[in-house]
């Protein structure tokens, strides 16, 4: 186990810079998830950490050692690939023991460690099978087994669950988290799925266009997104954004599209008349008499909650209710955002304005 320091790392392919100075401190034993839309540079960063891509500038260190010029095999890291990259001509046991074999470990030692890893991952009955004979979830576990056999300083996961079906993905998510709690190995996990990020991470790093937008614990990111991108990326269904202006005359309010009045707890200093974006999560709407009038378009009950699509000041918004209201399309309702939970972003820069 080791800490990992990524300091001002840049990456260019030819003249095209894909990472513009990324700094991420990772503590020993932490589970860090790099999340962002495709093309944000998260996989490139992971591959640089693994040593599969050169570092254009900046430093990456594992433990106390700067690894910029260290060969991948000497970095003491293990990686799980999106397509698992299992060796098709080797049995499960040989796949898992391959790295030890290359290190000239004795066959007793290899057997012992493969067996132990197989027990942890419930792979013991499958050790003599070939990858083709395994299901998707089993292959995924073999890929993880190959990583844990080595007992590395750092685990790297590159979108490991994207090839699984939805149900299996949820199960494997829990399994990986449990594995981390058990082994406590520093882990860097790349995904584009914010739910995976929220559920698994100790620390989430949201990346976008080659920069880090924000990092923090899942709930920090959910409660206090630093900018509109993070606000829109974290949370499902996504946060509603309404453009308008801050109005301060006695009480702070937000004047949304078509003059809709929305409540604000406090207005940021000297913000009267400033163009801004009002952000409210679907689950922070309530039905109240002093709410803004909205017309219901579609109602989607999921059992545990109900998603309601409505027009508010001419803009479509989503609200989620745990209570069972009797809604019908075309109904007029009064939606009120919880003023203590709304977010205000600068219209020009997208930066968070309220505390």
């Amino acid at each position: 186990m080791s800490s990992v320091q990524i300091r001002d790392v840049r990456k260019s392919f030819g003249n095209f810079e894909v990472l513009h100075g990324v700094t991420i401190p990772i503590e020993d034993g932490q589970f860090v998830v790099l999340v962002g839309p495709s093309g944000c540079g998260k996989s490139t960063l992971l591959r640089m950490l693994a040593g599969l891509e050169n570092i254009t500038s900046g430093t990456i260190s594992i433990g106390d050692r700067v690894v910029n010029n260290v060969q991948p095999k000497e970095r003491d890291i293990a990686m799980v690939f999106q397509n698992y990259a299992l060796y098709p001509h080797m049995t499960v046991a040989d796949n898992m023991g391959f790295s030890l074999k290359l290190r000239n470990a004795g066959s007793d030692e290899i057997n012992k460690r493969v067996k132990r890893a197989a027990e942890i991952l419930a792979l013991s009955p499958l050790l003599d099978r070939y990858p083709r004979q395994l299901s998707g979830g089993q292959r995924q576990r073999v890929a993880m087994g190959r990583a844990i056999v080595r007992d590395p300083q750092v685990f790297l996961f590159d979108e490991p669950l994207s090839n699984l079906d939805a149900k299996l993905r949820v199960a494997m998510r829990t399994e990986i988290k449990e594995l981390h709690q058990r082994l406590k190995t520093t882990t860097v996990y790349v995904t584009h799925d914010q739910i995976e990020a929220m559920t698994m991470a100790d620390k989430i790093v949201v990346m976008h266009d080659g920069i880090v937008e924000q990092m923090g614990t899942p709930l920090e990111l959910y409660d206090k997104p630093e900018n509109q991108f993070v606000a829109g990326f974290i949370g499902s269904p996504a946060m509603n954004f309404l453009k308008g202006h801050v109005r301060v005359n006695g009480v702070a309010t937000f004047e949304g599209p078509n003059g809709v009045k929305l409540p604000l707890k406090t207005a940021p200093a000297a913000s009267d008349g400033r163009p801004a974006v009002y952000g409210v999560r679907p689950e922070h709407f309530t039905i109240a008499d002093d709410g803004a009038e909205a017309e219901i378009i579609v109602v989607e009950p999921t059992g545990s909650e109900t998603q309601v699509f409505a027009k508010l000041g001419g803009e479509q918004v989503v609200a989620v209710f745990r209570e069972r209201h009797q809604f019908n399309p075309g109904d007029k309702v009064r939606l009120k955002p919880d003023p203590s939970l709304v977010h205000l972003f600068d219209d020009a820069t997208g930066k968070r304005m309220n505390a």
Binding site: K73, M79, Y87
Partner: protein
């Protein structure tokens, strides 16, 4: 076509004529679709092969119908030292040329699989020896190895390395080296391009995984590339061995089997005895004697081509 369950004719149709029933029989129709291919194979492959084997048991000559002489032709060949020399030549030629074609082809394939400038052009260039008609390239080699006008001799003389022309095609050892060289030159592209196609099916993430597992470049080749390539190697080398063993054009254009039969292969000897000398029966016997060798080569590759254990099993994701 596999047997398809054909719905039985309904009772009221059972009175229909046999011809009408036949018209609606899918197997009957399927048979007629198969006839052109079957006819082609029978007339151009099975019939000549059968005829050749039959001729080898007769004393047929050109212009004279032969009589059945049982195994007399084979008994003659058994005591014929030139025949045994041609068997030795064929085995030497096949073994050396195939081994070198494999080694050079694999090397080229690995090289062309790397990222480099003008990759597509280099790949196309490798194919050139393959697309030139065999006889044309043989004639070119004939000139290159000519006893008086050889460009190799000329160059070496001008470099001061030799004082006299090398008699490439006139010396038994040199002649063997030259024909084997020409065969390799022609055969390498086929091996290289096919193996390259095989290399490209290997997922790059396997190499990355192996690299992270600590594999050196050699170990990557030894533990990943080579095992994954074996099925394709088996196919390519089977074809390569069969083509080399039955080679005729190159030898005939370059040496006609000389000097002193040093480059006579079974195919060229057969042609010389059967067509040039007119002894069709004896020539056919030499040709037929190739069959056991070819069958042996096919058996080896048949076992080599067996689906390996790791290729079996369901893909159930």
């Amino acid at each position: 076509m596999a047997e398809v369950a054909i719905p039985r004719a309904k009772p009221q149709m059972s009175e229909a004529s046999a011809w009408n029933q036949l018209k609606h029989n899918r197997n009957w129709l399927g048979f007629w679709f198969m006839v052109p291919a079957m006819a082609f194979l029978i007339f151009f492959l099975a019939y000549p092969l059968g005829l050749g084997i039959w001729l080898s048991f007769t004393d047929t000559r050109i212009g004279r119908v032969g009589h059945f002489v049982a195994t007399e032709n084979y008994e003659w060949l058994w005591d014929d030292s030139i025949f045994w020399l041609s068997v030795f030549n064929t085995l030497l030629y096949t073994f050396v040329a195939s081994a070198l074609k494999f080694a050079i082809g694999l090397y080229l394939a690995l090289l062309l699989n790397e990222n480099m400038p003008f990759k597509a052009m280099l790949r196309a260039m490798v194919l050139i020896p393959f697309i030139v008609p065999t006889v044309l390239s043989a004639l070119a080699f004939w000139w290159i190895f000519d006893s008086q006008f050889s460009i190799i001799s000329w160059s070496l003389k001008h470099l001061g390395l030799i004082s006299q022309n090398i008699n490439f095609l006139g010396d038994t050892t040199w002649a063997r080296i030259c024909v084997i060289f020409a065969n390799i030159w022609r055969g390498v592209p086929f091996v290289a391009i096919t193996l390259l196609a095989g290399l490209q099916t290997v997922s790059p993430s396997l190499y990355e995984a192996a690299t992270l597992d600590g594999a050196t470049r050699w170990q990557n080749f030894r533990h990943i590339t080579y095992p994954l390539l074996t099925p394709i190697i088996a196919v390519v080398m089977t074809f390569s061995v069969l083509f080399t063993f039955t080679d005729f054009q190159l030898i005939w254009a370059m040496t006609r089997g000389g000097p002193v039969n040093a480059t006579h292969l079974m195919a060229t000897l057969s042609y010389q005895r059967a067509i040039i000398a007119g002894q069709l029966g004896e020539g056919a016997a030499i040709s037929s004697a190739m069959i056991p060798f070819l069958l042996a080569a096919i058996m080896v590759s048949w076992f080599g081509l067996q689906r390996r254990k790791w290729q079996q099993g369901e893909s159930n994701d």
